[in-house]
Homo-oligomer: 472 residues x 4
């Protein structure tokens, strides 16, 4: 099967799917004002890699066996949340495939077949993981409403039937397959909740209610990033959706629910960490330009702020390099970045990102939100005065300065910025959850062994105490 072009992709979305936004049913996402630019950005990821060779496939479908593979995939992944999400969903399945194969060989086979089918048809997938959850301190089986977690309501000869919902599914109305995974570990007795499968977006019984970070104002020049890079998030409502056996990857084995959730978590975090260095560098650059344009680059306090940002960006990059340097390989030969570095970096990144934004705002000043709009500075009556008063220093024009300010506002202090700030730290469960994930990957026993040896508990004393200037 050949790859799709951008236009073929657009057409493929008109398949009877039931997607809503602002209370309205959308027949063709590509033509809805709040979805069109997201469709366009995904279409671009088709056109960019399009190759008419029938054997060709999108590089995100390359299962990495070496760090060069991984690097290529990382480059391909970064162009859209949807390529990133498709990668995460497929890689999580592939990574756990050998383990699932030990439970039931057909799970492993179905996973590889499913990923091959997606690759062949050049499809896109979501990561449908987070359930509605109801009462947070109760188990799935103890909720007032049994549908607060997606569950198997019927098991038939040729497939299963599921109900429930999955929340904040990035790009849900713009993909072809919804990859459903358990949101956390399940216990014996919760077999109906231990379910992983894939469901086509236009499946009978599936409804998607969407929100978006697309800008609602008319003048797109006022939203230089968000009018191009926005993405909907869907609430998937499964109402007795039938899933044929070929697309069922876990059905009742509670022991393995968590491993799918963890594998997906690793890949979600990997997506975040892989670009954190260059994203942070860009923030440093934005701050440096803002300072230049107001003639403040050489002020001691501004240099100091920039250096804090530079340190942050460097540590982000260090985390990713260490993760790649220590990548691990599963028994089918699939490479994964080292989870301990990915986890710690994801946490560090989310922890410090807000501080970066604060510094950026501090350097931008209140003009960030009070800068006249493009329509103002293009107005004949007032444009000249605005251009005079807000002219940039360092050889930059007022237009460049205002453009920069609007970019930073859109990125960090408007609808899109607010959305990013929230999802940045909460995707994957908040910082509390991230800390626990890191501890799970950390070798605490080795740390205790080091400590015992240093103190001289239970055996030998560390022979040569380390140098005084070197902490311990």
């Amino acid at each position: 099967m050949p790859m799709m072009t951008g236009d073929q992709y657009r057409a493929s979305l008109v398949d009877g799917r039931r997607c809503y936004i602002d209370g309205e049913l959308v027949d063709d996402p590509a033509s809805h004002p709040l979805l069109a630019s997201a469709v366009t950005s995904v279409a671009a990821t088709y056109d960019r890699f399009y190759d008419p060779d029938p054997q060709a496939f999108h590089p995100m479908y390359l299962v990495p066996r070496s760090s060069e593979d991984m690097q290529r995939r990382v480059e391909a992944m970064g162009h859209s949340d949807i390529t990133a999400g498709t990668t995460a969903a497929c890689m999580a399945l592939v990574e756990v495939a050998p383990a699932l194969g030990k439970l039931r060989p057909e799970y492993r086979d179905r996973i590889y077949e499913f990923v091959e089918a997606c690759k062949a048809a050049d499809l896109r997938c979501s990561e449908a993981i987070t359930d509605a959850k109801g009462h947070r301190r109760r188990r799935p089986s103890q909720q007032d409403d049994p549908d607060f977690y997606v569950r198997i309501v019927d098991r038939q000869r040729d497939g299963i039937v599921i109900s429930g919902s999955k929340m904040h599914i990035t790009g849900a109305p713009l993909v072809h397959e919804q990859v459903v995974l358990p949101t956390k570990s399940m216990k014996p007795g919760e077999e109906d909740y231990a379910v992983a499968c894939s469901v086509p977006t236009n499946a009978e019984g599936l409804t998607i209610v969407n929100t978006t970070n697309a800008p609602r104002g008319d003048d797109t020049r006022h939203f230089p990033i968000s009018h191009r890079t926005n993405m909907p998030e869907g609430l998937l409502i499964f109402d007795n959706v039938f899933v044929p056996n070929e697309r069922v990857f876990l059905d009742g084995e509670t022991s393995h629910a968590a491993s799918l959730a963890h594998a997906l978590g690793l890949w979600e975090r990997t997506n975040a960490v892989a670009y954190s260095g260059s994203s942070a560098d860009r923030l440093v650059g934005l701050a440096a330009l803002l300072a230049e344009m107001s003639g403040a680059s050489d002020r001691a306090d501004i240099r100091d702020l920039l250096s804090e940002m530079a340190i942050f960006a460097t540590m982000c990059r260090a985390g990713w390099e260490a993760a790649m340097k220590n990548a691990t390989v599963n028994e089918d030969g699939t490479l994964s970045p080292a989870s301990i570095y990915i986890s710690a970096s994801k946490y560090y990144n989310a922890e410090l990102h807000g501080k970066m934004i604060d510094i950026l705002h501090d350097i931008a000043g209140a003009l960030l939100v009070t800068a006249p709009t493009v329509a103002d500075w293009e107005n004949e009556e007032i444009g000249a005065d605005i251009r005079e008063q807000l002219g940039g220093q360092g050889g930059y024009s007022a237009e460049e300065r205002l453009k920069l300010l609007h970019y930073v506002r859109d990125l960090t202090a408007d609808t899109y910025g607010g959305w990013i700030a929230v999802t940045e730290s909460l995707a994957g469960g908040g910082q509390y959850a991230q800390r626990l994930v890191t501890l799970r990957h950390y070798d605490l026993n080795e740390a205790k062994r080091l400590a015992k040896r240093a103190v001289g508990i239970g055996g030998e004393l560390a022979e040569a105490p380390q140098a005084a200037g070197v902490v311990v």
Copy 2:
């Protein structure tokens, strides 16, 4: 002269003022979609205190002589940015009046006359302080363009003529008087920049270019706060504006430029600090409700987060109480809150506010930005499913939960929230400037005396060393 009603206020804005927004000239602010709700909120502050008695006046014009006066004024001030700004502008003038009177007695007289006139006619004023500034490391007189700071371009028999601009002036198109103050200290040779005066909004030669944090989406239910409490910010462009002598409060005395800037700064910070405790309490309450609605109130990590917020809110309140307890009185009997406590609290508040928001987001989860809209849950096809899946715990309905989420998003993670985050910490110059302001108010000599006595430098040794458990 009697007070104005809300409707009289609306009418008073149609006076020939030249206000722009989105590149468009606005004849009547009350009828422009991006300004109407701001006008409505100001009109409410008229109706609320309206009294037909010709001697009646708005309580914000009460010059405080006691802490009871101050408390009443604080209550009146808080209903709108514009009442707060009017208060700050008038109080700054009144506070410095005795000192200016020593330079030239007519300055003091003019200030009292101006404030009386505003009170009698029930007017509203802006605080027009921040200049465009051009190159940040150069003095006003060294800029490439002499108009980067507002300056006197001509001195005539009966008045002065000014040019230049003032940036991010809250509510500028909705007030009657623009109170122009120097943005910082001036040096000999910068006499033309040492200018304070008041200019009617419809003055010949004055143009105001506005931006706003009003929401741009159509469904106001999606913006529960910002569709009611938004406010424009104006860029004032003065093009040879004539100011009659009666409205000139400083003309060339560089020695006193800074004292006006500092007095205004104190009152701006006072506005921020006065309500910081109750604002913070509301954030704690929002967080507590969010936790209840998802059944997480009793989780140890959530309790811990709430307690951090409670500490923050308590310290905010403590700062304000200490400022009021230590209020000072100038020689004309005007009361001002103690500047050292106001400065430190303003800094603390801005420093910690972002952390409060982070905690709020952590407790809200990503649903904060992905919650279906009101239009979704009122839709016949999908409403019931949404209400089932997102039903609140603790006896709250899905509607209440969604309303709460939209409120918190609008407040903290959307256009309005981004705007607040920026202006919150940058109003009055950023945290670096706030720190220096605090140091200026702090009694460093007394601190050094304490230290010398403790160490025994230059004389007596502190006789009784303080207890060990008590830090020093």
Copy 3:
């Protein structure tokens, strides 16, 4: 009974008490090298307030009925950990006396008699609260060893018999009465652990094992603070100690164990908060002097650091002022500072104190630990060179600079400083516990009410939305 002089106090300590330090039994604390200076500092608090009038008493025994009383008491309290501890122990009992009186009237009477007796005999008391605790996740009654919490092992006609231990009891070997209080709430079935009483230090069966922050080096000039203000901490071991009924304040009423612990906690925190402002000011002063002496006072980065310290010191002071302004009165008329402000300030203080010290170190530089000793600069061969090379700027001599450096090292970067750093934040249970305590005192329901009104949940919507610039 008349007050004691310092010498009478010294003599009173030789009463057969069993105190150990460094594995050695101490007969007379005043003559032991590691205890002598602590005894001297306590003796000074006797001499300072000595009055031969038989009705006279130490001001710390003034039960405060007004804020002037409180202020006088605070001044008297601060001279020693032991006056502070005596105050806390007695005030905690007095505060809870009315409530205990409702359980059994004799509890209230015994408390007032006990405090009167201490006052009359001019005694000093400890706060013996923290148990050994054994396994932290198990209740007192579930421990492997029943003595991990102090408990009643026998109830006799005229008194009770207790066993177990109490840890880190400040000044234990230097007081006359050990006031034993429950360390936390107790549950039904734990009646033997719900015990409060007072035990004379020389009671049969009581042994005290001590540690100290007194310096171990010989040259006291090297330890300018710690050779004067050190204090021992005792581990009290109760081995079947008999306590007569008159000194038993709680015996088995589990419902009231917590209220004693909480009352003591409030007073311990009060001790910390009352002086936090002046302690912090002193740190600011030390930092300012260090900067002056190296010619760095005017550097922008140093000014910025000092201003951070000034903000911290100001907020500490604000917390205390707010606590005093909102003091509460129990039904017997005893005044207590407002617990919510005390708790929040204690947390804030401990949280920021380390940051103050970091700044102080940053300004001091590594010379803080590498400065030559007094013996060096007084040496004939090398003294002149040292004085030349380390001469202070700003008119300060090398001696003054070195004295200052040694003071700061002793205070913050040597044995004493390490001790303070630990006890500063851990006295009363660590920051996690402090946060929970604050939440307990915080009015969360009122915060939720504010939030509901703002959002419009369950009734009226807040009528006038608060100003945009003021957070909301």
Copy 4:
């Protein structure tokens, strides 16, 4: 020349050097109570690598050409501050040698000869860099006293004569060569201050005044780390010291003063960063053991604290791995770790280290400073009670628990701990300086280019906007 044994090293220190401590001249460091254990620890680094082969040399003298070399060197370096310092001094010279050779070829030759001579004779070197500095805002040439910076006071045919002092020189009295380097960049006119050379410790005219972090108490069991790993710091006073031309590496070329300072800085930071991961792991381990011993390992708040520490330790390690992965090679083939990662990691490490210690203390509790001494628990009368009351949970004995507590106290909350806390963050100039160093190494232009491309300033717009979920 063969390598030295530990005993030969001890003997080599009795060479007429003039070293003082506590105002006393020391003839033989190995026999002075405050220096002996430091000498022993250095002697151990001789014995450990001793090899009678006349060609053998200590591995720290291996100039690294590959990352395996570097790894071996790192292992050898870590055993003592003195091996680390010798490495830093020699590597800084070697790294800059090619550049200095371009100024004057003999500089390069002398450096290689000097390092060869040290290697052949198995010597140890100091890094003598920090001057007394006098007034911090004045240039070396503008000081009241010209000797506030080390300078050339005479130039003779066969050498130069220097005067002035160098501060906090780690291990100065225990090395053979004091490697003198300029403390910062010099300007034209400051030729006398642009001096690098090496001076034998027993040179005529050189006096060393020392301080130490060795414990002053008698019972070494109370100081489990510091009685083994302490190190003196010397103040070097040069009084007309003659340096022969062969040992002069820079004489007046102000243009190259900074490059030596920077090279040394890189190696000092490298020493800190190389071990930061394992040091941090050890702290995690100590915290985990403390929690186990009090039965608190499973508490949610404790798990959360441990995970914060684990993240910190992981990021430390990531920084080092990234620095090694991106190591650079100078034109003579010498390998250096990538400075940007070293700088950022050093800053991060110092920034977070204090937080690690706070967590460690939080978990330890106040028992950290109030734990009975070894002498107490070995005492017959009281030992059994102490062992009962302080028995560890999780199968640990009271002895093990107390040993652990004393270790952590000595490491973090006593003389040694205070010293480490200060030098940890201040070695190399404080965090403000570290930030600026990082900014110097950071590619700000590339960051600006990224930002311009994203915004569309001055040319192309970044074609494919990056994914929404990925920050920018």
